[in-house]
């Protein structure tokens, strides 16, 4: 077997495809959990304080941003996929790692945003000064997904 063939096996792009898929799948999973969990909190809170809708939508928006991180990385990886003849196995591994890093970071961040958003909007309805604290905690949950995105982009440049 020649060197070119062993470096470019037919299953090489499989890893890249799985990387692109897992980037968006797990990010969307985390974003969906965050949206649903904080959505129940908003629905329960808005019965008594409907004027706080604008403030309480923030966890839902932040959960949606997690999915955009996954979308960006998935589009990047999908743009770099090629035929097996010009796609090394190393590139496939790199793309799989990039997709998994942003995917699972997004999953974790989405869980955190959901739980914090649920408790935060319920608490903000009773004590409006909690809003600043809720935003700070949400930002700290959000940057977990951003760290995954940074690692994914750094891996992508290899």
């Amino acid at each position: 077997m020649s060197d070119a063939q062993s470096d470019n096996p037919i299953y090489g792009p499989f890893f890249g495809v799985m990387g692109a898929a897992s980037a968006i799948i797990f990010s969307a999973l985390g974003a969906a959990y965050g949206t649903a969990k904080s959505g129940t909190g908003i629905a329960a809170m808005s019965v008594m304080r409907p004027e706080l809708i604008m403030k309480s939508i923030i966890p839902v928006v932040m959960a949606g941003i997690i999915a955009i991180y996954g979308l960006v990385v998935a589009v990047l990886i999908a743009g770099a996929l090629e035929e097996p003849s010009s796609y090394t196995l190393y590139k496939g591994f790199i793309h799989l790692g990039a997709g998994l890093s942003v995917g699972f970071s997004g999953l974790a961040a989405g869980f955190a945003i959901g739980i914090v958003g649920d408790a935060g909007v319920r608490g903000t309805a009773q004590q409006p000064r909690l809003f600043v604290g809720m935003i700070l905690i949400l930002i700290f949950a959000e940057v977990l997904g951003l760290y995954g995105l940074i690692v994914a982009i750094y891996l992508y440049t290899k």
Partner: protein
Amino acid sequence: MANKKGNNAGGRTQQQINDSKDYSAFKVVFFYCSLIVFLPVATFFLLKSTVLERFFTMSEVTTNIYSAVGAVVALHLALGLYIYKAYFGGSQHTESYKKID
């Protein structure tokens, strides 16, 4: 929504006021949410095409990286704008509504 006291005219105006408040709040939230959803996507592809067009010597990976970073920066600018608006602009009327039975 039924008005138990039979005060139809007053109830309707109150409801119209509430509806217009809801509609204006919906407009603001819808604008910012669509900004947050579509701005990064537009920034990504716009930046990709223009950077590719202008600096053609740049490799495709570098172009993609700059487009992705620009999209994420635009996303956070829109999010910061929304939080600013929600924190300073969304609380000018602080009176509480009554629960609708």
